[in-house]
Point group: C2
Chain length 457, copies 2
Amino acid sequence: MSIPAALEALSSLLKDRLVRSKSDLDLHGRSETHFAPCPPDAVAYPQTTEEVAALMRICTEQGCPVVGWGAGTSLEAQALAIRGGVVVDFARMNKVLEIRPEDMDCTVQPGITREALNVDLRATGLFFPVDPGANASIGGMAMTRASGTTAVRYGTMRDNVLGLEAVLADGRVIRTGTRARKSSAGYDLTGLLVGSEGTLGLITELTLRLQGQPEAVSSGVCAFDRIEDAVAAVMETIQMGIPMARIEFVDAAAAAAFNAYAGDTLPECPHLMIEFHGSDAGVAEQARRFGEIADEHNGKGFRWSSLEEDRRALWAMRHNGYYAILASKRGAQALVTDICVPISRLAQAVEETRADIAASIIPGPILGHVGDGNFHAILLVDPERPEELDEAKRLSHRMVERALTLGGTATGEHGVGVGKLDYMAREHGQAWDVMGEIKRALDPQGILNPGKLVRGN
Amino acid sequence: MSIPAALEALSSLLKDRLVRSKSDLDLHGRSETHFAPCPPDAVAYPQTTEEVAALMRICTEQGCPVVGWGAGTSLEAQALAIRGGVVVDFARMNKVLEIRPEDMDCTVQPGITREALNVDLRATGLFFPVDPGANASIGGMAMTRASGTTAVRYGTMRDNVLGLEAVLADGRVIRTGTRARKSSAGYDLTGLLVGSEGTLGLITELTLRLQGQPEAVSSGVCAFDRIEDAVAAVMETIQMGIPMARIEFVDAAAAAAFNAYAGDTLPECPHLMIEFHGSDAGVAEQARRFGEIADEHNGKGFRWSSLEEDRRALWAMRHNGYYAILASKRGAQALVTDICVPISRLAQAVEETRADIAASIIPGPILGHVGDGNFHAILLVDPERPEELDEAKRLSHRMVERALTLGGTATGEHGVGVGKLDYMAREHGQAWDVMGEIKRALDPQGILNPGKLVRGN
């Protein structure tokens, strides 16, 4: 029982689709953030579910770790093979298998990226709404329970995956869920696999809920002197039932970075960026009502538009936000934090975080999906100065402690991976043990993404 | 190790809150539908989580079955102690523990009913939207993953429970979820427990998502000659992104029953009943646009109103639908079926079901939550004539087979219990085995609601 024996058998199975070249191993040993590189022993490129099942049987027989890989955009090192073994790259399982416009759903393979899927959907008048920013793979987004700017309206991956096909540790292929919109037929295994970060099985197929492209879209931006006013405006908008498609917060430091990067002229203070989806009359009314609410909470200079060029400019600013912030410190690497709190605690959490960063030796502009109570500080560190990474980790640690104290979670949308593992015991208490019991029931040898998500894995 | 030994210990624990009177046993041995009565050995009325945990430790030690009981309104015999043991009635754990209007959530004990909760919420401007018709307990609704008329807008219990406290088979008390609106911190244990029908643990506390009471509500009703036209109108309304709060289908037989029961004057043909929640201008626009879509699909006589008295009359008709249908056959009992299919298959599923019932010896008006693809035939049987119950079971069986063939589920919202157990292998395949493996990991002795939901339980 050994990794070399597994690789030999996998090589017979996959031929030249089991790759051990240094370049490929290096590529699959890197994460997008600050984690140390950690190349796997091999990279597999399966083409079918049957190949994934055969691969899994070999790896179980030989006790070889198996780690899934989508687009490599995860932020907590979820896809790094920290105990060696084989990385399963789904690049060749990236097809749209079926689109059913009348049911507003589709079935895809895990390797397709969300942007590629939305290109394929364009002619149908439908779109897949979950938007984490990065052009992640759909399988990876499911595995980390990703969300992003549109979750306030359309939900997270939890809400948008109707069913799955998955290969378990022992090579069994299961199907979860149906194409019905709802069901009360037993345990929600779809929901259990979504967010499991490859520790319970590998997803080989997903059925996704789609949305109709809105007839009209309006977007706007509004400045605030104080973070708590911006948050209060969002709370009131939600309570009034005004359906926001996106509602994003940027702090003064982020606004400054946007200005420097793209020549924008935002006042350097906190802002809300908002978008509405609906009918022409609907989005106009919603923007108008939001404007009134923003006014009541000392919002300044709210302007909105339904013109596509204006909208594109606004969201390009937000979507490029990460790169704008990265560019604001020469040669910097980012540690991207991710906490989520009850919305009543959001202003406090953002304000305390901002003060903490202001008192530190590094910059860290803040962006947030404020409708969900979720925000990120983009902590910028000089890779040549290890004390800056230490400082970033200290700030991130304090953010998580703050989130848990305020009734929130250590990770709103980036997942656990390696980076948040140490907080699971505190966040979940004995429920974390239960996660481990489920893990051991389904993967008794612990070959699936070892070292991640559950205790003693 | 025995049930009598367990009852003795439970009696010491709970004193007069462990009840063994014939009347109480009989009351907790009945279901609302056709299942044979099955009284438990005792009924426990715990008052605290600690008591539930102590009860569970005793029952594990003695191998005594434990079955949860909310309001006793489940439709598939979920709460019947079919292997004897103790029924845990949550009637004394029925408090609202905290309402947090600014976060639009609340924390409640499982025994509170949804109507009682909504009375408590009234002054806050918020409401709990899941509406299965019956005045079920919130704990029971979570355990069966209930939904009902509003799921098309607000989702099912899966979407509206943010977190839980639960007591596991070994007496451990776990907390799942946080008060943050989203999280990607590990396995979704909240989602695993919701819909688990008391086979993994007993829920002792729930944190629920609330909604703002809409500023305006409009309701309408529209007749159609053909079921497929009604369904096509619904599909187009969904595709246009017009946010319906309820969209209910009733067939000609149901319309006739409503007329006979309440003196309504509906034409005896299929109908849609619809409701919109939003701003004054919004609900008026939505009703108008729905009217245009209904017109295109040969809808007749669409009328709508935002006046509360008109709305109440319309929904009283739908809410009393079950009783109106029951009254349409003297002395009848009902077998209530429950399937859910992809919406593109809904017209076919309803039409084939209607034809099947028309060719049978019993009546069975059809009601449906058509926005979800979910519908019920209320099969009316004379309890004195066993051949009618047999016929109803045959019709229900054929409905389930039809749903599964069409890519749907054996149960949209009533759950598995005893009535749908035989379909789980076909619906889930090997995924049903996985449910059993999770069950055995968390309840190795199988004391929690034995005989339900998973194989060999």
